[in-house]
């Protein structure tokens, strides 16, 4: 009875675009100049929408807000690889990809303002609402990926979470189900290295999140999450695999949370200040601009025009937010069921009386 290996696995890390804007041609995806520019523009818009949210939170115009700063490449790179029919199953730090997938920014602002209508996305936008309980949404992505497979729908469900979420049981249950049922699902973990104040090294003794996929019988890959091209390449491959019916993939985008966990947090209590300098030099937006400039695909003039365009978009989204009428207090109870039972009818009448409707 010899002792012999029954499983060997290697977990790969992919980098295409380095911090100085140089690409590794061997892994450069086949993207046109227009596509590359669109990916860059998408990141800049995400950043501007995000900055405005932080700004509005400070002014008291929206509530607690969790910034995506530093994670734009992870979200824009994946968005560029997704097909229109694909599903986004977000956690609460996915505003960037939600926008890129068709959720208007003013709805995202509305969500953080404390308005449930912020989760009423336009018809046809295949995006689930923001899920707050950490990791719970991965299981929905697994189930949705199973549904897509059963229906023969040519779409993939992409489930999101952060490094902290990989410690929750639901992360593991989701990957396990998706593996067993070969779900049309991609699990996309943005490892921004902090779960509020707890660093990644205290979430797991494993060297990476990506390698955990092997335990569930499928591939995992780590990418430089600040490298939009690496994210695109890995995402495209994973989406294609799922679409072909060859099962799920776990992608770990290793990035960094440049802001506080949310506006209710103070990261100076726990984060080494030198971290920010290190990661600023690896900024996802800057490096893509350097690359585009080196390819003569970008210029100061284009940059200026883009910033003006983004400012106008931000302004229009804020205007759309502020044009939303106040929510109807009776909505507190109106959507609990399709048909309200007696108690909720009575409670709705009470609310209506109180507000004089």
């Amino acid at each position: 009875m010899p002792k012999k290996p029954i499983h060997e696995a290697i977990t790969m890390r992919l980098e295409v675009l380095d911090k100085d804007g140089k690409v590794d041609k061997a892994f450069m995806p086949d993207l046109s100049g227009d596509q590359l520019q669109a990916m860059y523009r998408s990141m800049v818009l995400m950043r501007k929408i995000d900055e405005k949210a932080l700004n509005m939170q400070r002014q008291g115009r929206i509530g607690t807000y969790g910034s995506i700063r530093g994670q734009e490449a992870a979200q824009a790179g994946l968005a560029a690889a997704m097909e229109p029919q694909d599903w986004t199953v977000p956690s609460f730090r996915e505003q960037g990809i939600m926008m890129a997938r068709g959720v208007p920014a003013h709805l995202i602002y509305a969500f953080w303002k404390g308005d449930e209508r912020g989760s009423v996305f336009p018809e046809g936008v295949r995006c689930l609402p923001i899920a707050i309980p950490v990791a719970s949404q991965f299981v929905h992505a697994a189930g949705l990926g199973m549904a897509l497979k059963l229906k023969g729908d040519d779409a993939v469900a992409v489930g999101f979470g952060g490094d902290g979420s990989t410690s929750e049981g639901d992360f593991h249950e989701a990957l396990n189900f998706a593996g067993v049922f070969k779900a049309r699902t991609v699990f996309f973990v943005q490892n921004n290295q902090w779960a509020i104040s707890v660093p990644f090294r205290q979430q797991t003794a494993a060297q990476s999140i990506a390698q955990r996929a092997h335990g569930y019988g499928f591939e995992g890959i780590q990418v430089d999450g600040n490298d939009i091209l690496a994210v695109y390449v890995a995402s495209k491959e994973a989406l294609d695999r799922a679409r072909r019916g060859d099962g799920p993939t776990l992608i770990e985008a290793l990035t960094y949370r440049m802001e506080n966990h949310t506006t209710a947090d103070d990261a100076t209590r726990y984060r080494p200040p030198e971290d920010l300098d290190y990661w600023r030099q690896r900024d996802p937006v800057d490096r893509m601009r350097k690359f585009l400039s080196s390819q003569k695909l970008w210029s100061d003039k284009k940059e200026q025009a883009l910033l003006e365009e983004c400012a106008a978009t931000v302004e229009a989204e804020v205007a759309a937010l502020e044009a939303m009428p106040a929510p109807d207090p009776t909505d507190i109870v109106s959507y609990m069921f399709k048909e309200l039972p007696y108690n909720l009818r009575e409670q709705r009448e009470q609310l209506a009386r109180e507000v004089g409707r």
Binding site: E116, R117, S119, V120, F121, L128, P129, A131, I132, P133, S136, F138, V139, H140, A141, A142, G143, L144, G145, M146, A147, L148, L150, K151, D153, A157, G169, D170, E173, A174, N176, F177, V180, F181, D331, Y335, M336, F337, K338, P341, Y342, N343
Partner: protein
């Protein structure tokens, strides 16, 4: 336990009926709905080849295949969360949790998502899904197999809660639950899974959610119950009748939505009531029933409403469970206390 079957009073049994146990009635409902609606799926531990640990899903795998009858990994949160995803993807999943005592790992999914999706998205998304689980005591199992925590579910806004007390209602309520566009937790009283058979129409029919059943009419006191405890109420009805007390028996059938009119209508008529449930007493659903009667029928009352419930204890292991479960004797004693007030 005696074998008094609930008497169908307000139901017409058409021709073409079989005599079925509650297990068989649930099985027929699943099979019929899967036959007519290709979006109906069944998933859970052991529901496929084994036909479920109580054989509720027997034959479904052969009839509908592994794409629609899914033996899942052993993970309750995964089962319920995947059912959420399946429902969002256009199916009507029916998830089985093996015992209510094993629901706890799934509570995050049930309370944080299943109950909230419609409200969270202001109706953009909804979850037409059913979570079935055997609940309650009386089968002498190990720990965690006897829980009756319906009050937890009722106190979670957004879940419907159906609890049949007999085979006829089990089939009709389950068909309503599957067709409902909101999530329904379907609690099956495993104690009476096979306790008796009754005529169940072969055809498809529904018992509406939110409509209580007056199983026995009476004029002196109302016995209010649901699920397995309806049998205790019926046994008490007979015992009280022998002593000249006419007890009305109301089977609530669903706790959400609740047929408050049936409760108030009956209690207003009789002026006395006993609420009977297996779950713990404090903050049990009986307390809600008492409060509703106080709010809506206080002046019709001739005695305080009595509660016959489980204790505020952990459900005991099998050697003591007969002392835990509400018995006919306790119901009769409570009814007499109300009569003699």
């Amino acid at each position: 336990m005696s074998n008094v079957a609930p008497q169908p009073s307000l139901r017409a049994v058409p021709e073409g009926a079989e005599r079925l146990t509650l297990v068989q009635a649930v099985n027929r409902a699943l099979a019929q709905e899967m036959e007519t609606d290709p979006t109906v799926l069944v998933l859970g531990e052991d529901v496929g080849k084994d036909g479920g640990v109580f054989r509720v899903t027997e034959g479904l795998l052969d009839a509908f295949g592994a794409g629609r009858v899914m033996d899942t990994p052993l993970a309750e949160s995964g089962i319920v969360g995947v059912a959420v995803g399946l429902a969002l993807g256009g199916f009507r999943p029916i998830a089985e949790l093996q015992f209510m005592g094993f629901m706890y790992p799934a509570v995050n999914q049930m309370f944080a998502h299943v109950a909230r999706y419609r409200n969270r998205t202001r109706g953009r998304y909804h979850l037409p899904m059913v979570i079935r689980m055997p609940y309650g005591g009386g089968i002498h199992p190990p720990e965690h197999h006897s829980e009756s925590y319906e009050a937890l579910l009722v106190n979670t806004p957004g879940l419907k809660v159906a609890i049949p007390s007999n085979p006829y209602d089990a089939k009709g309520l389950l068909l309503s639950a599957i067709r409902d566009d909101d999530p329904v937790v379907f609690l099956e009283p495993k104690r009476i899974y096979r306790a008796f058979r009754e005529e169940v129409p072969s055809e498809s029919y529904t018992v509406p959610l939110g409509k209580a059943n007056v199983v026995k009419e009476g004029k002196d006191i109302t016995l209010i119950s649901w699920g397995s405890m309806v049998r205790q109420a019926l046994e008490a009805h007979e015992a009280l009748g022998r002593e000249g007390v006419s007890a009305e028996v109301v089977d609530l059938r669903t706790l959400v939505p609740l047929d408050v009119d049936a409760i108030i209508g009956s209690v207003s008529k009789t002026g006395r009531a006993v609420v009977i449930h297996e779950g713990p007493r404090t903050s049990g659903f009986g307390a809600e029933v008492v409060a509703l009667i106080n709010e809506r029928a206080l002046l019709d009352l001739q005695a305080p409403v009595q509660r016959v419930t489980g204790f505020d204890s952990v459900f005991p292991y099998s050697m003591l469970e007969q002392h835990y479960l509400p018995s006919r004797e306790r119901v009769v004693a409570a009814a007499k206390k109300a009569m003699e007030f």
